[in-house]
């Protein structure tokens, strides 16, 4: 059962709607370099977001030491920087990394 109010706003504004899962990576040697980079970076970006959420959950639980908070925070910052570098290298925008969900399978 799903009841929604204002689907457009939901898509625009809810961050869970950023969850994009790629199709299985094609082991095709003809895949254009940029296309492969886009796919791999999208997966990395997805994992980065999940790890960020995980870090925030740990903050909620309040059981991180000062040193751990520093390490996690720095690692997240470094990761974001790396992602930015990589996007520049391949000339990709944030939008390019949001793979469309493709044809939607009917859910029961």
């Amino acid at each position: 059962m799903l009841i929604t109010n204002d689907e457009e706003k939901l898509r625009e504004q809810l961050s869970f709607t950023e969850s994009t899962i790629p199709d299985r990576i094609a082991a095709d040697p003809e895949v254009v370099e940029n296309g492969l980079a886009k796919l791999v970076l999208s997966i990395i970006e997805l994992v980065r977001r999940l790890l960020e959420k995980q870090a925030l959950r740990r903050m909620d639980a309040g059981n991180l030491s000062e040193g751990e908070i520093e390490r996690l925070g720095s690692a997240l910052m470094k990761l974001e920087e790396k992602m930015l570098e990589m996007k520049k290298v391949f000339g990709l925008e944030d939008d390019d990394l949001n793979l469309s969900l493709g044809p939607i399978k009917t859910l029961e």
Binding site: M1, L2, I3, T4, N5, D6, K9, L10, Q13, L14, S15, F16, I21, P22, D23, R24, I25, I43, L46, E52, K53, A55, L56, R57, M59, D60, A61, E66, I69, E70, R71, L72, G73, S74, A75, L76, M77, E80, E81, L101, G102, K105, L107, E108
Partner: protein, 214 residues
């Protein structure tokens, strides 16, 4: 060949024949088998797991295992479950007739994600991220409407700050009361036509199975 763990169940009949049932620590793990080299971040697999979850939920309430639990033997599954098995069993017995529902609502103030370039220390940055997440708010009027229309049908409920863009309401509802949920949702829509929300049910025990949220 490896197995993808889906849920934790009280009885074998709760699982079979929808999925494979693996006995572990006085519980049963539901699983589907995939190739060893099957990547987990595969949309078809995710949809398949989601559909299996839905079918399992039709049979009986279970505790959802977060996606990513893969194992190669019953012994491996057992070793990973044993620590919390007793607590999970008690939870399942207490909530046999209940399912979860969630309501996600867009925060009234959209937070900008903190800019990492304004922070010199990792700790400050992570704290700022955390603060932004918890700063997401929704009007008290809306919260009261939710509690009045939907909360009133539920055995347990809680509000959660999940991320900077939204707030979430999670609750446990008796299966017998599910029929009343759609009308309650429509009633909420009428009462608050300008607030975007997404109400979905039923779900297995997820939020209420997670120790962090106790």
């Amino acid at each position: 060949m490896k197995s993808i763990g889906i849920g934790l169940h009280l009885d074998r009949e709760d699982v079979e024949p929808v999925a494979k049932a693996i006995a572990a620590s006085n519980l049963f793990v539901s699983a589907i088998d995939v190739d060893d080299d099957q990547p987990l971040s595969d949309r078809e697999l995710l949809v398949r797991v989601a559909q299996t979850r839905a079918k399992l939920l039709e049979r009986a309430t279970f505790i959802a295992v977060r996606y990513g639990f893969a194992f190669r033997s019953a012994a491996e599954a057992e070793s990973k479950i044993v620590t919390n098995a007793a607590r999970w069993r008690a939870l399942l017995e207490e909530n046999r007739t209940r399912v979860e529902l969630t309501l996600k609502v867009v925060a009234s103030t959209q937070q900008q994600k903190p800019d990492r370039n304004s922070f010199s220390s990792g700790a400050d940055y992570l704290r700022a991220l955390h603060a932004a997440k918890n700063a997401a708010v929704v009007s008290d009027t809306f919260k009261r409407e939710v509690e009045k229309t939907i909360g009133a049908l539920c055995a347990k409920q809680k509000w959660i700050a999940r991320d900077a863009a939204s707030i979430e309401f999670a609750a446990l509802i008796e299966r017998a009361s599910l029929l009343k949920l759609a009308p309650a949702g429509e009633s909420l829509k009428r009462a608050c036509p300008d607030i975007p929300f997404l109400l979905s049910a039923p779900w297995p025990l997820e939020v209420f199975a997670d120790a962090d949220h106790e």
